[in-house]
């Protein structure tokens, strides 16, 4: 597929899921920066790094959890405008509310079709 020129920060601790979403995104023409945990996610948006266009955020991750990473992103003037999509297996009642309270702009519950994820990303970036 043709490159979109857009970068996605994929925060996901499960290697399989990381590989699946990453594969589908790359296949769809996105550049993907992967982070296995909260610390890597925070490091990925360090001042010397280019900002991603969108963040796919797993919430239950080691180190600093996804909710906290989201809060820090939204508290930082540099990163606060980057849209964050919660991509989580926390699909019980109240989980979406918790994710949005932390600062997530969108919410997708696992399991989810990788194609659907790409669709959502495109929609958010105004590409579809």
């Amino acid at each position: 597929m043709t490159p979109t020129g857009k970068t996605v920060l994929l925060v996901e601790d499960n290697p399989h899921n990381r590989k699946i979403f990453s594969g589908m995104l790359v296949h769809s023409g996105f550049a993907v920066v992967e982070a296995e945990d909260g610390h890597q996610a925070l490091a990925a948006v360090a001042p010397d790094k280019p900002l991603p266009d969108v963040v796919l955020m797993d919430l239950s991750i080691p180190g600093v959890d996804g909710w906290e990473v989201t809060r820090r992103f939204k508290a930082d003037a540099r990163t606060k405008s980057v849209p964050i999509i919660a991509l989580t297996a926390h699909a019980m009642r109240g989980d979406e509310e918790r994710a949005r309270a932390a600062g997530c702009d969108h919410y997708l519950a696992k399991p989810i079709s990788p194609k659907k994820v790409v669709e959502e990303v495109r929609k958010i970036l105004g590409m579809s």
Partner: protein, 712 residues
């Protein structure tokens, strides 16, 4: 009564002396004033008397001097010869107190006069004042005041014998005619008299002073004499007032004060005696009070022991204490308490206490013998009935009792009856309370355990949900990616296998969701979001989604909707219910059709019927299929995949929305499941036990991108 001692009396005298001294002072001052006045009066009287005496003395002296001079100067005056007068005048003038002496003729002419030079020239004779002297030979001397002396005048008389006159006037003899021939003059100095007067005055003053002093002394003595007894009396009265009845007022006189003191003494004695009687009476009273107090105390102890029953004392303990108190309070050798047995017909010896050897209390009394309530007094023992509400509840047996002991026991019996009754009731009540408390505690524990289990379950479910969804995401994701050819081209066989993976995974996901739904319904955590929902749309949507279930089955899904029906309900829940019904219909139908029929109800709601041409359900199984994990028989479980949760959840959701799900079926012909919903959700009456339903209703719009809500 406290009695003041002698010391206290004197102390009181010393302590409050002022009023008494003032009284004494007043007496003294009064008497002193009186004596001063007396002295002064006496002095004045003395002076006055002395003054008169001096006056008279002076007059006498003047008279003597004048008479003497007149007599001696008779001849000289008669002759008018100064020489003849010289001796008498000089003799007179020589007297100490004479400052002037002289002889004058009847014409007032001086014949001879001598005077002290200090006098100067004496005044001429005042003839006008002296005429009386010239006219009357017997006239008294005339005294004329002068400076520093008395100017005294007297006639000089001579006797002239005239026979004719004598014979005619005095027949008895020839009486001489007396004739004034001159005037004698004497100046009598006032100095001696004045000196004498000063002396007298001094003496008078001394006298007055002496008298006053004597009077003062007397006043002092009298004051003392009057005040001391009164003070003694006052002190005595005070002492009596202060309670010292042993005081003896000694006045030492037989007068009125003495009498008064005697009266006081008598009164004190009377009081003393009365007090003594009172004290004796008091002592008796005190002894009586002590005796009664002790009695009351013993009785109170007994009552306290009995009252303890209210506070949960065991009956045994109560009776032991009661007996101990009874023994302590009376002088019986031994005592026992009998209580009725369970049947309340016979007595049993419950407790005995004694002083010394263990005694025999003899035979048990009969129940009826005690019914009168009167104590049975036998030679060696007494049996006091314990009646409660007229029924003999027990008895107190006393060995070798006194009358007093029997009385005490009789008084105690009433209290004992109540106490025993209370204790028995209390024991029963306490037993009951204990049981209730234990049961309560067990229930509370059970409830807490259930709550904790519920919490753990919710936590566990959340974890299970998360931990199952994560690998499922990977399985479904890989399947999709391979299917898409991202990892290279796939053969038809491989894609078929991937479909199997996907279907199995979706079934697994359905199971997970259903389990979670069920657990949420059971724990009352399901919330419904009410909006206006078009039923036709729901039916169409479900029918479209259900196409994937058909696979290669020779089945068609149809929607029959007479009109557009809109009700207020939770669209996601309705969709879930209908999807479940349709998937079931597809599952158990191999050929024919599945029809979704939407019709309005009379109540303004909707009925969605899902009809199939499948295997059907036996009548006896038609209710069982709504139970959790239940499919109608073992064989079907094997033949048809499924969790057996779908219908159970569907019915519960229907109830939450105020609706019902009913089933009609004929084996071999088909089944019709009908969801009936009201125009808007309403609470339903309690569901049957197998379908315990709960949940809260909330009329709020669904969240903007709620995953359960499908876009239409």
């Amino acid at each position: 009564m406290e009695r003041a001692r002698g010391a206290t009396v004197s102390l009181r005298l010393d302590g409050t002396p002022r009023p008494r001294r003032r009284f004494r002072t007043r007496v003294f001052v009064s008497l002193l004033a009186l004596s001063i006045v007396t002295g002064a009066v006496a002095g004045a009287v003395f002076y006055r008397l002395q003054l008169e005496f001096i006056e008279k003395d002076r007059a006498r002296r003047a008279s003597t001097l004048l008479t003497s001079l007149a007599t001696q100067a008779e001849l000289g005056a008669y002759a008018g010869d100064a020489g003849l007068c010289d001796l008498p005048v000089r003799r007179t003038f020589r007297e100490d107190d004479v400052v002037m002496a002289g002889v004058y003729d009847t014409g007032g002419r001086k014949i001879l006069q001598l005077s002290l030079p200090a006098l100067g020239t004496p005044p001429p004779p005042p003839l006008a004042r002296l005429t009386s002297l010239l006219a009357d030979p017997d006239a008294p001397a005339v005294r004329l005041p002068a400076d520093g002396y008395d100017d005294m005048w007297a006639p000089i008389v001579t006797s002239v014998r005239t026979p004719a006159v004598a014979m005619s006037s005095e027949p008895g003899g020839a009486a001489p005619r007396r004739e004034v021939v001159g005037l004698a003059r004497v100046g009598l100095s006032l100095v001696p008299a004045r000196e004498q007067l000063g002396e007298v005055l001094r003496t008078g003053v001394y006298l007055a002073a002496l008298l006053a002093m004597l009077g003062a002394l007397a006043a002092l003595l009298i004051a003392r004499r009057i005040s001391d007894p009164i003070l003694a009396l006052a002190a005595g009265a005070d002492a009596i007032r202060a309670g010292n009845l042993d005081v003896e007022i000694a006045v030492g006189s037989e007068d009125e004060i003495g009498l008064l003191a005697a009266s006081f003494n008598a009164m004190a004695a009377e009081l003393r005696e009365t007090l003594g009687k009172l004290e004796s009476l008091n002592r008796n009273l005190e002894a009586e009070v002590l005796r009664r107090t002790d009695e009351i105390r013993r009785s109170a102890e007994f009552t306290a022991v009995l009252n303890a029953a209210h506070e949960g004392e065991e009956l045994k303990r109560l009776l032991e204490d009661a007996l101990a108190t009874l023994l302590a309070a009376t002088n019986v050798r031994a005592a026992a308490i009998l209580l009725t047995n369970e049947e309340a017909l016979e007595f049993e010896l419950h407790f005995a206490a004694n002083k010394g050897d263990a005694p025999s209390f003899g035979a048990m009394p009969s129940h009826t013998a005690l019914a009168s309530g009167e104590p049975i007094v036998e030679p060696t023992r007494a049996i006091v009935p314990v009646l409660f509400r007229g029924q003999p509840e027990g008895a107190i047996v006393l060995l070798e009792p006194t009358r007093e002991a029997i009385d005490f026991a009789a008084r105690a019996a009433g209290q004992l009856a109540i106490a025993v009754s209370n204790a028995r009731a209390y024991n029963a009540l306490q037993h009951l309370a204990r049981e209730l408390t234990e049961r309560n505690a067990a229930l509370v524990k059970q409830r807490d355990q259930l709550q904790e289990m519920n919490r753990l379950k919710s936590e566990f479910l959340a974890n299970v949900s998360h931990e199952l969804r994560t690998p499922l995401n990977a399985i479904l994701g890989y399947t999709e990616l391979i299917h898409e050819g991202i990892y290279g081209p796939t053969t038809g066989e491989q894609r078929e296998a991937l479909d199997g993976v996907e279907e199995s995974s979706r079934n697994l996901l359905t199971l997970i969701n259903q389990i979670l739904d069920l657990s949420k319904v059971e724990s009352g955590k399901v919330e419904i979001y009410v909006t206006e929902v078009a039923m036709h749309d729901i039916a169409q949507h479900v029918a479209a989604e259900a196409q994937v279930f058909l696979r290669d089955k020779a089945l068609k899904i149809e929607v029959v909707a007479a009109s557009r029906i809109v009700i207020k309900t939770d669209s996601a829940k309705v969709q879930q219910i209908v999807t479940n019904l349709v998937s079931n219909a597809v599952k158990f139908t191999d050929k024919g059709s599945v029809t979704i029929e939407v019709t309005p109800t009379k109540e303004g709601g909707v009925a969605i019927a899902v009809k199939d041409t499948g295997i059907g359900i036996r009548r006896e199984d038609q209710q069982l299929i709504f139970e959790e994990f239940r499919q109608v028989d073992g064989s079907s479980t094997r033949r048809y995949s499924g969790t057996g949760l779908g219908l159970a959840i569907a019915r519960r959701f229907a109830h939450l929305l105020g609706g019902t799900i009913t089933v009609e079926s004929t084996v071999g012909v088909g089944s019709t499941f009908t969801l009936t919903l009201p125009p808007e959700p309403r609470p339903r009456p309690p569901a049957p036990p197998s379908t315990r339903q709960s949940g809260t209703m909330r009329a709020v719009p669904p969240p903007p991108s709620s995953p359960g809500v499908q876009k239409r």
